[in-house]
């Protein structure tokens, strides 16, 4: 190959390529928990497969065309006093060939593409778990209609079962993107969009909003917690206890913890009642004196106006995320801040410092009050 001899004569010119190789080696997707290159679901594999095929064609074309360019650069170097080169205006045969070859390559890419389009757009069949995804500035609400439970910023899915996400927005356009499991699907107000996937590995995987949605678009993340069917069932059973009473045992809205303020946002569904007995999960910590103080503060400081603490029968249209399981979530403030005691207290005291522009105002919570609120919320596992 002529271009190889040209390159070999100038070994210095290989340096950029070696650097490039080093760069590629340093970019192995294992280092990136949010990578789109290591799919963990059937749906994501469809796209990954198409992308791989397109990439190899592109790489081949890249090597050939840039190679030809490099060859021309060195081979046809002229001097000012060289005679005029042959004045060639074109060559119909060659031009037809280099029009047809790209067309054939594109046809080769188009086949898996169209196949992939129809596969990803097919409606999932069989035992499908439906989950409602609601985008909010700047957090994610996940509602499980079959379980009648709601959570926020942590999507729980069982491994090996197809989940179908039915998406809506409470305010502006967002885009739901769990890269390990699926590509993006935009989330609109007043229009439902869908996406589905069947996770094939357990673990906690990050994702985030991918459509610019205002000042804290960067801080609108979430986690997907994929777990074995048994673990998922255990989680679902636990979630169903996080209400006033297990939902199956009591009529909806019959007795609701924190109902007095919850009623103001929920409307007629929840009767205004005094505080009731705590939910089971909160009980172990309820002996803690900080807990009782935190419970008071949660109402006094107005937290209760925007946040619900019940997973079952949770009211719709809340401004802030559901906090029924906030104590056990890996992250707070919409999926990016580690849920440590320190971070949680800071977040409660100075939300406008931690996440500027967030809809939660600084409420003048003292360090001591923040400790109590933290203890109260931590008990909501």
């Amino acid at each position: 190959m002529p271009e190889r001899t040209a390159a070999a004569r100038r070994p210095a010119r290989l340096v950029p390529f070696l650097l490039l190789l080093a760069l590629v080696a340093g970019c192995s997707p294992e280092r990136y928990p949010q990578t789109a290159l290591l799919p963990l679901s059937d749906y994501a594999r469809i796209g990954d497969h198409v992308q791989d095929q397109t990439f190899y064609w592109a790489l081949g074309v890249f090597v050939l065309v840039e190679g030809a360019l490099l060859y021309a650069i060195f081979r046809f170097r002229g001097r000012p006093d060289d005679p005029e080169p042959p004045q060639i205006h074109g060559n119909t045969t060659i031009e037809i060939i280099w029009t047809l070859i790209p067309a054939l390559i594109l046809a080769a890419i188009a086949v898996p593409t169209v196949k992939g389009i129809f596969e990803t757009n097919a409606s999932p069949t069989g035992d499908v778990l439906k989950i409602e995804v609601i985008g909010h500035q700047w957090w994610w609400e996940f509602r499980y209609p079959d379980l009648n439970v709601t959570t926020a910023n942590e999507l729980h899915v069982p491994v090996g079962r197809t989940v179908e996400l039915l998406q809506n927005s409470a305010d502006v356009v967002h885009s739901f993107w769990p890269p390990r499991f699926a590509g993006k699907r935009d989330v609109f107000p007043g229009r439902q969009t869908r996406i589905w996937f069947k996770a094939d590995s357990a673990g906690l995987f990050p994702g985030q909003c991918a459509e610019f949605c205002g000042i804290q678009h960067a801080r609108m993340a979430f986690q997907v917690r994929a777990s074995s069917p048994a673990e998922y069932d255990a989680w679902a059973a636990h979630m169903r206890t996080l209400g006033p009473k297990p939902a199956a045992a009591a009529p909806r809205g019959d007795s609701v913890k924190t109902a007095s303020a919850g009623g103001t946002v929920q409307g007629p569904k929840v009767p205004a009642q005094g505080p009731q007995a705590k939910a089971d999960s909160a009980t172990p910590s309820s002996q803690d004196p900080e807990y009782a103080k935190g419970e008071q503060l949660f109402k006094m400081k107005g937290c209760i106006g925007c946040h619900s603490l019940q997973a079952v029968d949770a009211p719709k249209g809340m401004i802030g995320p559901n906090l029924a399981t906030v104590g056990s979530r890996a992250y707070i403030a919409a999926g990016w801040l580690r849920n440590t005691d320190e971070n949680l207290e800071h977040w409660i005291r100075e939300p406008q410092t931690v996440k500027k522009g967030v809809l939660m105002p600084n409420l003048g919570v003292t360090a001591e009050e923040a400790k109590a609120l933290r203890a109260y919320l931590r008990a909501h596992q």
């Binding site: 490039l20 760069l23 340093g26 928990p33 990578t35 789109a36 290159l37 796209g47 992308q51 397109t54 064609w57 890249f62 065309v65 360019l69 650069i73 046809f76 170097r77 002229g78 060289d82 005679p83 080169p85 004045q87 074109g90 060559n91 060659i94 031009e95 280099w98 029009t99 790209p102 067309a103 594109l106 890419i109 898996p112 593409t113 992939g116 389009i117 757009n121 500035q137 305010d171 502006v172 885009s175 993107w177 890269p179 590509g183 993006k184 699907r185 609109f188 007043g190 229009r191 969009t193 985030q208 909003c209 459509e211 610019f212 205002g214 000042i215 960067a218 993340a221 500027k356 522009g357």
Partner: protein, 622 residues
Amino acid sequence: MATTVLDQHRVHAAHEEKTGLWSWITTVDHKRIGVLYGATAFFFFLLGGLEALLIRIQLAKPDNNFLSPEAYNQLFTMHGTSMIFLAVMPLSAMFFNYMIPLLIGARDVAFPRLNAFSYWVFLLGGLFLNAGFLFGAAPDQGWYGYANLTSRQFSPGANVDFWNMGLQVLGVSSLAAAVNFFVTVINMRAKGMTMMRMPMFVWMSFITQVLLLLAFPVLAVALILLMFDRFFGTNFFVPAGGGDPLLWQHFFWIFGHPEVYILVLPSFGIVSEVLPVFSRKPLFGYAAMVFSGVFIAFLGFGVWAHHMFATGMGPFADTFFSLATMLIAIPTGVKIFNWLGTMWGGSIQYKTPMYFSIGFIAMFIIGGLSGVMHASPPADTQQNDTYFIVAHFHYVLFGGSIFALTSGAYYWWPKMFGRLLDERLGKLHFWLMLIGFNLTFFPMHFVGLNGMPRRTWTYPAELGFETLNQLETAGAFVLFLAFSVFLVNIFKTWRGPRNAPADPWNGATLEWAIPSPPPEWNFAEAPVVQGRDPLWETKRERGGRLPEPSPGTGAGIHIPNPSYWPLITAVGVAAIFAAIMLSHKTGPWGIIVAVSILFLGVFNWVFEKGYSEFTTPAHGGH
């Protein structure tokens, strides 16, 4: 046609050199307007570059607080909007203005005062867009302004209005200029220059004007609807009122995708001029180059929804827009192969313009190939809105357009200013730009596919994006250095002597037949063209290089009179949009005053004497 507006009563004794600020304010000379476009656009380009540098500093570290999220959102919005509307488009317009009349052997554009009007409107629109910075309310909703984030409810400030009104003003400028250049190319070509003998830059520019004429009205409509939503309580894009944010996306990309070709076709044209001259061979496959350009422009209107694969349009729309997008790779490939064919077998002279044109080809190939990768919806939904896309379009618009425009600057600088830019600094500029560009944007492919979304003011450390982002920031500083070298080169050349001959590169086209810089009337005698490379043909006929041409005295050549009414009219246009923004304070009076200024300008423009005395109808080809 321009020649019908004549003032027979004034005698213009001699065309003395015009200097001073007033001569620039009232100029209707396409060359001076070209210089104004270039200087203004280069200023906005540097501003957009500084915005990018601040963005890169913020992203060098995870959880960085160098910029607040508001500042970051304003900077990325203004960077994108400025680079598209205030840098790349008007830098192309600089070459339309200065070069199209010279390349087609004309003495000016068809409508010289409309040309001045376009420039002033562009300047005012650019200032309008940036005025938000003065009030701490620069646009912050992204250059594509997706509804319904732009509604009053979610964007109560004036940020969106500076963007909306600024773009409407700029749209007026683009449309006026497009009409002007369309007519200029159709009507003002030298004798013998048939359409299929036009220089490729003129062809690509001509196609660009058609795209502008068809695409900008769509943007204007969308912006006006948004203006109605924000100021007059309509609900075109407000879901609570029955509107649909998705409608905005269709409007925007029906404009937005042809806009991509508006940004890159002039660059195709520049490269198609530079490569043959420095390969000393005619452009390979001229007809294929013309028709592939036309085909790209045509297809450009049928692919807009490939920006919207993530919205979930369903399998049939996805398939249509995916396949239409892939088709564009064919004419684009033809162009790249023809450029290679032009170099092949040539005697390549490595001057700075050639470096940048070859750099353009090498970088544009990468941008084109990543473009094919996201023509495929199942793959694109992972790539969309990540840094992979940021990498892609910078390879097309920076690696493509900016490299080509820089090539054009080095190529035509001697013609425009009578001075050759320094070759050593030029090559240093090239290498720094090539290295800096790749260091900045190549890692974005990886960081994007590995999960980094666009338009995020920061990222958490644990996602692992830091190393690559640091490389990218380092690259941005190398780019900063590259353009500093360019500025030094410009400054050095400015101070140096007028050293450029009429034809420093052994050019093939008509502009090299006249002095550098050209006299106000361009051609002392109207040229006659017999082929595609008219100057090469003349040189061959006469057996070698031509003697330095004489500019002539200009006696007997009629040229348009200077006028300040285009500026007044432009002020009226900008004032109308400012008045709408302030209407809640001024009531209807602001708008009445603004419209009065506009009418004053138009009225005096119409009844002004357009041309000075002439003795022979030497203007206007045919």
